[in-house]
């Protein structure tokens, strides 16, 4: 019998983290930010059918970047968790914080115990009844849970996109300002994004019970002015 090679735990965690980060960096990024009337979620996504952003519950949305099948599995688990909780207790008892904690637990568990970590970064956003109640929970591949303030970036090149976002996003701005900032940050100075390659959705503060709404291409175009996004970058 041959003894297995000794691998230092630090090295093992480092390898797993590198593996996950590489997987995530292969996909395209997404940005979420608050605006006066809600929360904007904006992702670079060439597919019309395989969504990165979706609805979890009345006031909660989900976004994922990285490996589609893995974050979609997490999305469905989240919908099940929320619907079961609302069914057993009441609709008001479903909250983003508890869901984000569950996700963090699950991702942490997979990161340390499974063969391979999940190559995903996810966001759980909840719209409050006033701007102070807006919540953005950013969960990393290893289960790290970050409570973000105002805006957050998921995916590869997060730092570069984040620094552009920091410059362009204004607190309490309008939907148009938020969308311009988000798309500008995703595109960067040397690139233009086509409207058909951006997936946009919002959580509306005032509106029907189910606050999640996808923003159609025409509405995105009308905000961005033309068919591309070469705006003040």
């Amino acid at each position: 019998m041959t003894a297995p090679f000794y691998v230092a735990p630090e090295q093992m965690m480092q390898d797993r983290a590198d593996y996950a980060r590489k997987g995530i960096a292969r996909g395209r990024a997404m940005v979420a930010c608050t605006y006066d009337q809600g929360i904007l979620l904006c992702a670079e996504n060439p597919s019309r059918m395989l969504r990165k952003i979706s609805e979890i519950y009345d006031r909660i949305a989900f976004a994922g970047v990285g490996k589609y099948n893995e974050f979609d599995q997490l999305r469905i688990a989240g919908v099940r968790h929320a619907d079961l909780k609302g069914f057993s207790f009441s609709r008001e008892d479903v909250d983003a914080r508890s869901l984000a904690n569950q996700y963090a637990q699950m991702l942490g568990q997979v990161f340390t115990h499974e063969m391979k970590p999940m190559e995903v970064e996810i966001l759980v956003a909840e719209i409050g009844h006033d701007p102070a109640g807006d919540q953005l929970f950013h969960i990393l591949y290893d289960g790290t849970l970050v409570d973000e303030n105002g805006w957050c970036v998921l995916g590869g090149e997060a730092e570069a996109i984040g620094s552009r976002m920091k410059e362009q996003w204004v607190e309490g701005g309008t939907f148009a300002e938020a969308l311009q900032a988000a798309v500008g940050a995703l595109a960067g100075p040397d690139r233009t994004l086509v409207v058909s390659e951006i997936e946009v959705a919002v959580l509306d503060r005032e509106g029907p019970r189910r606050a999640f709404r996808r923003v159609e291409d025409e509405d995105v175009t009308s905000v961005l002015g033309s068919n591309d996004t070469n705006i003040d970058t």
Partner: protein, 267 residues
């Protein structure tokens, strides 16, 4: 509550009712008739009528336990989702629970799959729920719903009647359920024409519920003293919309005026 996760072979897919069963949250079916020992609260008359723009759905507000009026303001007509509604008659507790599960079933499917069910699909889902409820119905807890919706694919209102075994029957003019159904449907049958407007259909439905309450003690009439009126909703291309009580009060006052004139006040 933890995140539900399943092995691939055991995954319930977009079926919320199956998920609820798998999580052990389904109600227990009684093993003997419950009517013998307990008096169960019952909901009564509901009707749905088609007109060219969609469907009008309505239900009275009374719940009875045997001879008692147990509630005066119970609601039996509910939105199922944006473009459909469900009305129930029968044992009130299981019926309302069935509606809750049905509403969630449709929403859950839409969220998991990313697209809503077809109207036909929704009608079939409800049929399965009624069928699954049959063991409880056999013990005296029958639930008989009506399902109506605006079929966006066909641009027309459609309505479905059920029986206690889950049998699903599409109706083309009107459907009714509950203890006052015979009286209500007779009124509708006499007054129904294929060309009625939304307004005329609503008045016809209100008259039908009024006549049902006049003949059937388990059906509640308009209560002008307390301001309690039936739940009436239209389901059209713009979705499920409930009529407000002021509107219903005005309509009932004119119906009652009409009834008084017709009967001439003699005893």
């Amino acid at each position: 509550m933890t995140l539900p996760s399943f092995r691939l072979s055991e995954d319930p897919g977009p079926d919320f009712a199956a998920l609820v069963r798998r999580m052990g949250l389904s109600p227990v079916v009684p093993d003997s008739p419950v009517d013998a020992r307990l008096t169960i609260t019952h909901g009564t008359t509901c009707v749905a009528v088609r007109y060219p723009g969609g469907v009008v759905m309505a239900g009275d507000r009374r719940a009875t336990s045997g001879n008692f009026i147990s509630h005066r303001t119970i609601e039996k007509v509910f939105p199922a989702d944006r473009h459909s509604g469900v009305a129930i008659a029968g044992a009130a507790g299981p019926a309302i629970e069935m509606v809750r599960l049905f509403q969630l079933q449709l929403e859950h499917y839409e969220k998991v799959e990313g697209a809503p069910l077809s109207l036909e699909g929704k009608a079939n889902q409800l049929s399965q729920m009624v069928r699954n409820h049959l063991p409880a119905a056999m013990q005296g807890l029958a639930v008989v719903p009506i399902f109506a919706g605006f079929d966006t694919a066909r641009s027309a209102g459609r309505l479905f009647q059920y029986d206690v075994t889950g049998g699903r029957y599409e109706e083309f003019d009107h459907a009714s359920t509950g203890s006052g159904q015979m009286h209500a449907s007779t009124v509708i049958k006499m007054g129904w024409r294929g060309t009625l407007s939304a307004d005329e259909t609503i008045d016809l439905v209100l008259r039908a519920l009024y006549e049902a309450s006049d003949e059937d003690s388990a059906t509640g009439g308009p209560d002008l003293l307390r301001g309690i009126f039936p739940v009436v909703a239209t389901i059209t291309s713009s979705g499920f919309e409930r009529l407000d009580d002021e509107d219903l009060e005005a309509r009932y006052l004119s119906i009652l005026g009409q009834v008084a004139t017709e009967r001439g006040g003699s005893r």
